[in-house]
Symmetry: C2
Subunit: 354 residues, 2 copies
């Protein structure tokens, strides 16, 4: 199996020295895996780290069904994991990246074929980056209590949480790799040769079992306020969240980049929260023939029109119209993901000049 791992020169030198010492031929195993963009150079980071935002305590008597351990106690739920990096030379607004359905913050890290992810790409373009795991996903804990309660016979199976997981066969057309698994669209730019690494990114999605609005919304609001003014970058299932943040309190929100949102606000809803707000709704290719996506593109166009009538600075962009045909729903991982990042960085400079 090809692991998209890049070994830098110095690590390679160290491994090489060890190989000499131990007499094993380790260099061969590492050769040819360096895929760092030519001339990218080292990354200079002022700060990095991680923390949680939001969350609340929950008392439970069904934490565990392991004999010998107390099933009673207090856990924290609904918090949101945030990993951040601040570049040494910061020259743009902080970006908060929110993944979509059945995925985690991994979405924005290295691509499946081992190229630079958007977290690093935008860091290199001057933006502090904040990559989150939605509540009850990835490193943000889900509440085990409803499941353990059923196992212990205290509740019926009906009370188990709603779980959504997408098999690759059904994800295929939603991700618009092609009309149906495993057929690909002509000119489609996802690195399918590394698709195994994408399928490994996918996790069970418990968002339907969470309160409405999703606790991620309050956490994003808290994070944005803390950062001062941040651009919220959503993808797919998380599309509604930045709009919900703004509707409740836009204090910390500098703008919204909505990548292939599962929905936009209704054009009949109150548009005042969006007045003067830069909003970009960004789409890849092949939407017109997608029964799932075509109506969503249309609905978002209607929203953009209504928002602008109320004074927003909203724009809907089809990347194919910008000279980038063949992009998929997972466009931040497409072969030319850095070209799209450049386009998006330019859009941001237009709104937040340096």
């Amino acid at each position: 199996m090809a692991i998209p791992h890049r070994v830098d020169t110095l690590a390679r030198r160290w491994i090489g020295a060890l190989a000499t010492l131990t007499g094993t031929a380790l260099l061969g195993a590492c050769a040819g895996t360096t895929t760092a963009p030519a001339g990218a150079g080292p990354l200079s980071i002022a700060e990095q780290g991680s923390f949680f935002v939001g969350g609340s305590d929950r008392a439970s008597n069904t934490l565990s069904d392991v004999p010998g351990f107390a099933p009673v106690g207090t856990v924290s739920v609904d918090q949101m994991y945030v990993r951040y990096q601040v570049p040494e030379k910061s020259s743009g607004p902080p970006l908060v990246f929110v993944h979509g359905c059945c995925l985690t913050g991994k979405t924005w890290e290295s691509t499946p074929d081992g190229r630079m992810g958007w977290d690093e790409a935008f860091l290199r373009r001057g933006h502090p980056t904040y990559v989150v795991d939605q509540a009850a996903r990835g490193r943000s804990a889900a509440d085990p209590s409803p499941i353990v309660a059923v196992k212990l016979g205290q509740q019926t199976p009906h009370s188990l949480p709603v779980i959504f997981s997408a098999g690759r066969e059904s994800a295929w057309s939603i991700f618009r790799f092609g009309p149906h698994y495993p057929k690909a669209f002509d000119g489609m730019r996802y690195p399918l040769e590394a698709q195994g690494q994408l399928w490994k990114q996918m996790v069970p999605d418990l968002s339907r079992a969470l309160p409405t609005p999703n606790p991620t919304v309050a956490a994003l609001s808290q994070l944005s306020a803390r950062l001062g003014l941040a651009v919220l970058v959503s993808h797919s299932q998380s599309g509604p969240y930045p709009f919900q943040v703004v509707t409740q309190d836009r204090t910390g929100v500098a703008g919204i980049v909505s990548i292939e949102p599962v929905s936009c606000p209704s054009p009949d809803s109150d548009m005042q929260p969006y007045a003067r707000l830069p909003i970009l709704v960004l789409w890849g290719d092949y939407t017109a023939d997608s029964p799932f996506w075509a109506p969503r593109v249309k609905a978002c166009a209607d929203f953009v029109k209504a928002a602008n009538a109320a004074g927003a600075r909203a724009r809907q962009v089809m990347l194919a119209d910008e000279g980038m045909p063949g992009q998929t729903h997972m466009l931040m991982q497409d072969r030319n993901s850095l070209q799209i990042a450049d386009w998006l960085a330019a859009w941001m400079r237009g709104h937040w000049p340096r």
Copy 2:
């Protein structure tokens, strides 16, 4: 709530400029949160990214109970998420950090009170770092099928996976913050004022529902072989994994750092796999009075003795004997976590001179 977030000078300047523009007093919200160690300076990184190791395809017809979506399909399970960083000036072996029970790779990132985590600390000490999420934990997907099967009535509640979650009340004495919640030991060095951020790190642990050996073991073996020679750093519940890797194939393993392992190999087992292998078993304070830990310290001492008799280079260390009393089970997050990192880095230089 105190978010342990550090804002660097440049980001602060940018936010300050925006504050001036918007007329809001944002600087105040950010003041006093910088906790980067004085003189640490920017971090120069040759490479960073993430990928998955291991995993296998699983066909399921109980992926989802959401109406309108196919419950049938193929998902990937048992893979291990790896996030890595390689320093610009690399001068030590790669370290693979494996978290313990009910936790994720977050263990090794920023401490609950916002100080530098061991991932960055060892990167700054010259080591490429690889922080993983165990199989079925964090960003490494769990299989939803057994839960959905029960919800859909295809299986009985008895077939639900074994889940273990620790409430803070029971975790308290296992983490050795004190004899019982919420009483603290005298001189104990965990930053309890930020304990809320620790409880938010805790996630449900499904390791008991996984095959034996845990798929994480095969993934660690694959990762180590890929890296050439890596030091496997385990914590608590993951303690057995590096030993299991070595027993199967020690090709990629340079050494083992076993931090407060839940168990060590039996001294009656085959010690040959450990011949000439540097092994450190590291313990914090207050173990002698812990009914849970005291027998484990004793058993690991017996293992170290047996391993050395077979030619290993094993050592068991109580940090209190090294001038560091008051350390807890979560010693990589204790107040003096960087002092412990310095001690550990020196131990490594002793085995792998630069």
